[in-house]
Structure formats: C-alpha cells, structure tokens
C-alpha cells in the first residue's frame, strides 16, 4: 500500500512553472476539443446523415411551421414571435438530448467505467462533451431561422445579424449545460431519457417560445426565468424588431447557462462518488 508522505518538496522555481502550466492548459484544451469531438461521434446517435437531417433539421422546421399556423389561427402573436421563438428553441433537441446521451450512453454502452477511471480533471472532461452540442445547436438554430425566413418571408435587419448570432450562441451554450445537468442524472437513474423528454416539452411551454409569457401565471414565469432559452428568445425578438442587442438579456442567458454548468459538474461529481461507493456504475 503506498504511503502518504508529507509534502516537503518546495517545487520548481517560478521560471520553470510556465512551460508546465502551458502544457497543462494545452492538455486540458486537447481533452475538451479532441475528447469532446470523439465522444460526440461515438455517443450521439443522431450523427448519421438521415438522423441528423430528419431529427435535427427537418423536425424543428416542421415544428416551427406548426406553431406559426397555430399562431395565425389564434392571432395571439404575429409570425415574428413564433419564428424567432422556435428558431431559438430548435437548438434544444440537439442540446438537451445530446447532453443526456453524452453521459447516459457511456453507461448504456458499458464504457462509463473506463471514462471514470481516467485521472483527468472532470470539468474539462465533461465540458468537452457539451462543446459539440453548443456548435450543433447553433447550426440548427441558424438553419431553422434561415429556412423560416425563406419560406415565410421574415426579414431581419442586417445590422442585427451579429447580435443575433451571439444570442443564439448563448442560447445553445446554456441549453447544452442544461442537457449536461440532465445527463448527470443518467449516472443515478436508469430511464434518464424519460426526464429529458419531459424537460424538452417543458421548455416549449415555459420559455415563452410559443406562449407569450405575460399570459402565463407568475409561478410559470418564475420557472421560465431560470430555464435556458427564455432570455435568449426575448433578446432575439428585440433584435429582429430592430431594437438593438439587449445586453441584460444575453447576460441573464449566460448566467443561467453558467448556473446549469455548475450544477452539472456538482451532480456529476456527487453521482460519480455515489456510484463508486455502491458499485453501481454499470448497473442498468
């Protein structure tokens, strides 16, 4: 049994530390980028062309059309409201289910043990998993919005496009962190896709993507405030109407995402420790 020895070595001189720190940063980034890309290819079941196109591109676009026509019939809000709201929420399919699959599929395919045996820091390990979904979500939102503009004639001021890009990126990042937090439950519960299915539907209701938030009761609005996509949907609508970038909205979206990222890291650490203690890591 290895003995724990007192720490006596003062360590290398400051001049020697820089290359070591540099190597550690590069190594962490390699873990985030390469590890994330590999896990995305291996674990995200929808990376085949038919699944990607059918589920992630066509599905959200058809959902958007459904809500636009529903909105036109009920005359609750104009096309712009539904187009922007659904373009923002279209990222949720990839981000919520992706985050869930990033963890739950490791367990399902029996590779979770090998991943958790790794001595690497958990934060870059798990954030690397979320990174491809951020980009994926952004791509889907841009595709949905572009297709909707072409099909339904929505015009967005050119000056608003950079801001809109930033808003959609913040939305995807927040939603991916939310998905990762849900995925963490996959370390503890067997049917985690049940949770992600319900969560995905709840986002439709509470984020204001399809129901004007002022028509919802107070407690639903309060819940929506702490969900990803809510502030981004508002900011995107303001931008498309030519009102300029709502810095507070974007900041609120980023803060919500950061909260879920923190929650994901804590849950993953807690559930990892619990599953090691109970030896239930691979139990399905």
């Amino acid at each position: 049994m290895p003995a724990r020895t007192p720490f006596l070595d003062p360590g290398p001189a400051p001049a020697d530390r820089s290359p070591r720190l540099y190597r550690r940063i590069v190594s962490a980034w390699r873990l985030v980028v390469i590890g994330g890309a590999l896990s995305y290819r291996a674990l995200f079941n929808w990376t085949t062309p038919p699944m990607f196109i059918g589920t992630l591109l066509v599905g959200p676009l058809l959902q958007l059309l459904f809500f636009v026509f529903l909105g036109r019939q009920l005359q609750v809000a104009d096309d712009r409201f539904y187009l922007l709201g659904n373009a923002v929420i279209s990222a949720s399919t990839a981000c919520v289910y992706g985050g869930t699959m990033a963890v739950a599929n490791e367990r399902r395919y029996g590779t979770l043990g090998a991943v958790l045996l790794s001595p690497r820091n958990r934060a870059p390990l798990w954030f690397g998993r979320a990174l491809p979904y951020v980009l994926n979500g952004l791509l889907i939102s841009v595709f949905t919005l572009s297709a909707a503009c072409l099909l339904l004639g929505l015009r967005i001021p050119v000056a608003a496009l950079p801001g809109l890009g930033a808003v959609l990126l913040a939305a995807s990042a927040g939603c991916s962190a939310f998905g990762l937090a849900l995925g963490a439950l996959g370390l503890r519960f067997r049917d985690v896709f049940l949770v992600s299915n319900v969560a995905s539907s709840v986002l439709l209701l509470l984020t204001g993507a399809n129901v004007p938030r002022e028509t919802l009761p107070g407690w639903m609005r309060a819940l929506g405030d702490v969900l990803p996509l809510t502030h981004a949907a508002d900011a995107a609508r303001q931008l498309s109407a030519g009102a300029g970038l709502d810095g507070r909205g974007v900041a609120a979206e980023l803060a919500t995402g950061a909260g879920y990222a923190l929650l994901a890291v804590v849950l993953l650490a807690v559930f990892e420790r619990g599953s090691r203690r109970r030896a239930t890591l691979d139990v399905m």
Binding site: G54, L62, F66, F69, L74, N197, S201, V202, L205, V211
Partner: protein, 263 residues
C-alpha cells in the same frame, strides 16, 4: 388463415402489447406527461386568444396529438424493437403472416395513446375548469376508438415502411408536427395553404380528428360525426391493405438478401 383466428390473434396480441407498454415508464411518459404539457400550452394559447369556448377543443386536440405521437413512435419501434431483441427472424419464420404480427403492436400503441386523451381532458377539467360539455358525448366515446383503430391501421403501413429502413426514427422523429398540422388536430386545415388539402384528405387522421372535434363541440349534427368516422375507417382499411402488400414484398426482399436482422 381463417377470419376468426386472425381476429383472435389480433385481440390477444393487442391485450399482450398493451400490458407490456403499460409497464414501460417511457411509454407512459410519452402517452401522459408530454401530452399534458401540450394540453397546458394549448389551453393558455386559446385563453390568450380570448377563445374560452374552445378550451375543450384544445384539450381534445392535444389528446389527439398524443395518440398520433404514440402510434408514430410505437410503429417505428415495433420492427426496430423486435430486431434489437433478436425476435424479428422468429416472427417472420412463423406461419402467421407478418402483418398480423405487427398489427396488434400498432393497434396497441394507439390504445396506449388514448391515455393521452383521458389525461388531457381530465387535466383540462381539473386544473383549468374546462367544462366537459361534449356536443355528442356518446358519439365522442364512439369516435375516439374509431380514430384509434384507423390510426393503428395507418401505423401498420408506417411499420411496414420501417422494415426497410435501418433507422426508422430518422423518419419518425420529424413526422410528428406535419401530421398534427395536416390533420387539423389543433389548427383547422383551412388555415393551411390550398395545396396541402389533398395531403390532408388522404390521411385517416384528418377524418378521425374531424369526427372527434365534431362530437366535442359546436353545432355539428350526428351526421357530421358519423360521416368522417366512416371515411376514417375506410381510409384506415386501405392503408392496412397497402401495408399487407408492402410487407409481403419487403419480407421477400429481406429474406432473399438476408438483411432482416441488420440493424
């Protein structure tokens, strides 16, 4: 196979698969919780539109959407699940026609979907005080099973198509919203562009949901419920017939190419 035996096989099959699916948390979630979210969303939208008279229509529409989702994913999974379980070859090799093996599964998914209808209507009544004043309560209780039956038969055609596809979900995932839309489950098809009408008319779901909505509210007479019910059943039977033909051809090809179990 004699008609009596085929009927018995279908009934026993439906009972068995409904029992299986009722034990699956994922099926129940799809059949109950997700439609409840859509029902809530519909009720708030209809309220925001100052259209309180149609709240029951909104709840019933959300229930119909739930039935379709259940059929869609259940039919997609019908073949895929047998493939994953390694039982598809056994079922194909059995003397019972494959269509008669799959029909109870697709019907069972539609039956499970009726949980959605019950859940959304009760949810609306309990939480949103939606009055349950159906225009034709008896016809409503008749229209829903007819709608379920025709949807189950439509599901059989979907399942037949999915035998050919290795990844049936690629087709099933985006088919949710267009059928909700084209069938007028929540939005009347009159708001859609004219070119979509023939597509709507060709779907049993359109006639099924028309019958259910006519029985739910408005001043529709009994004929306006019964006629769409008849069309829905006829179209459903046509879809089932087409499915039998497609399945025979697909099965032959899969046997010849030895690709039946390739997932």
């Amino acid at each position: 196979m004699r008609v009596g035996r085929a009927l018995r096989l279908t009934l026993v099959g439906v009972r068995t698969h409904v029992s299986y699916m009722s034990r699956s948390p994922l099926e129940i979630t799809f059949a109950v919780l997700v439609p409840l979210v859509y029902a809530t969303l519909s009720v708030y939208l209809f309220r925001a539109a100052d259209d309180p008279d149609r709240l029951l229509t909104a709840a019933v529409g959300a229930g119909l959407m739930g039935i379709w989702s259940s059929v869609l994913f259940g039919s997609g999974g019908a073949v895929q699940n047998q493939r994953w379980l390694g039982t598809l070859e056994t079922l194909v090799a059995s003397p019972t026609p494959l269509s008669l093996v799959l029909l109870p599964i697709t019907l069972a998914t539609a039956v499970i979907g009726t949980y959605a209808m019950g859940a959304t209507v009760i949810w609306g009544a309990v939480l949103f005080d939606v009055p349950l004043d159906f225009a034709h309560p008896v016809l409503f209780l008749l229209a829903v099973p007819v709608c379920v039956l025709s949807l189950g038969m439509m599901g059989l055609l979907l399942a037949a198509t999915f035998v050919l596809l290795r990844n049936a979900n690629a087709l099933a995932n985006p088919l949710d919203a267009p059928v909700w839309l084209l069938s007028g489950m929540l939005v009347p098809i009159t708001v859609l562009p004219d070119w979509t009408r023939p597509l709507s008319w060709a779907l049993p779901t359109t006639w099924g949901s028309r019958a259910v909505h006519a029985a739910t509210s408005g001043s529709a007479g009994a004929g306006e419920v019964l006629a769409p019910m008849g069309v829905s059943l006829t179209l459903g039977a046509l879809y089932a017939l087409l499915a039998v033909l497609v399945l025979g051809r697909v099965e032959q090809r899969a046997r010849a190419a030895a690709t039946l179990s390739l997932a």
